[in-house]
């Protein structure tokens, strides 16, 4: 067994998940490919969304893949960092907006 949970080389093996369940694996990759095609959103916009979500999900494979992908699409580092801040703002906001729930409870119990 390897000594770390994550190995960068495993990213290249992502496709291998179809080996143990071909039908579902294939359906997933077909869906995945379709999602990132040029549509109402450009492929570039989708890649930036993916980069932000990769960070909020804290998935090292996704960060690796979408940093490279956005670079390939000519995205600048300023744009990348702004996208990550959008993710961080939602993450932070999602935590803080629950503060209202806490306030409601305090007001009810100790108002």
């Amino acid at each position: 067994m390897q000594k770390t949970y994550y190995n960068p080389a495993d990213l290249r093996k992502f496709g291998n998940i179809t080996e143990w369940d071909e039908e579902l694996g294939k359906k997933f990759f077909e869906y995945y490919g379709k999602v990132f095609e040029e549509g109402a959103l450009t492929a570039r916009e989708k890649a930036l969304i993916a980069l932000a979500v990769a960070h909020t999900e804290q998935c090292p494979y996704c960060i690796d893949a979408y940093t490279k992908d956005t670079l390939q699409r000519g995205v600048t580092k300023e744009e990348m960092m702004e996208a990550i801040h959008v993710g961080a703002a939602i993450k932070g906001g999602a935590t803080l907006v629950h503060g209202v729930q806490m306030m409601n409870k305090v007001n009810k119990l100790d108002g």
């Binding site: 290249r12 570039r44 699409r73 000519g74 600048t76």
Partner: protein, 351 residues
Amino acid sequence: MATKSLHKRESNLANSNRQLEILSNGIFQNGELPTFKNKITETNQFPLKAKKLEILQINVGYMCNQVCEHCHVDAGPDRKEIMTLDTMQQCLEVIKNTGAHTLDLTGGAPEMNPNFRWFVEEAAKAGIKDFIVRSNLTIIRANKKYYDLPEFFKKHNVHVVSSMPHWTRGKTDKQRGNGVFDKSIKALQELNAIGYGIPESNLRLDLVYNPSGAFLPGDQASMEKDFKKALKEDFEIQFHNLFAITNLPISRFLDYLIASENYEDYMYSLVEAYNPKAVANVMCTNTLSVSWDGYLYDCDFNQMLELPVNSKVKHISEYNEDLLEGRNIVISQHCYGCTAGAGSSCQGIVA
């Protein structure tokens, strides 16, 4: 930012044999990745053969006013290899009689060859259909003696193809040197002002995009759209087409890949993106590259790796189009750079 060529630095990568060794050792020797020969054999495309010649590409010298980070020519102000008048004359004889429809002048900065203008004037008389000069743009602003180059190009109906790695200053200067972006913008505006790159104009101005690091180029059409929008909005600049070109793992780009520990991952990316359709149209099948000293190569990359054409005809002085047609193309692992994704050539994607 490099300021000297690998040759000047006496780097061992200035030696083409050393580069070829690296490209054949390691992951390709131990079978982790297939060699290019084995890969194209899988799709019944070995040996690659030259078809009818369409593009004659002449490298008039390795001297350049820039020292770009990833230059496959290892060009720079310290390179002294310059095509002589005699060799130019031999080239002109070929240009007058060739069946090729495109003449493509490259370097270095081709304009720095002292006989460049004479050569262009003479070559233009041959009436070849598409006459390309690969200009780095900054040369136009480098010295007063070059200020009138746009007018000179216009006079001879030269098709200008210029490198522009990004529409932002930061990414451009990182790759091509400080101040390159501003000078390039100025040069593009001057070219636009005399009619180059305007939508309906027949004065052709195309840009070349190549990635600033260890990653492949994105979709050419999308990049072109982004470039056009940004350059128009920010600088009122127009151009015709964008060619997205993959960086080949040779010379200074190979040096960069190794130093940044990206070599293996980059080769994996190229092999994983292998596209047999691109192999069918790869530029060596319709192009011939002539070096500053008149020797013939399948492409500019093979020229830099000193891999001569596999033909009885080796030099421009003994040029024979019929004998060169059908020759087997000389390949190594750098060739994966031209067959990744939508493929890559001096004219952009090929598949």
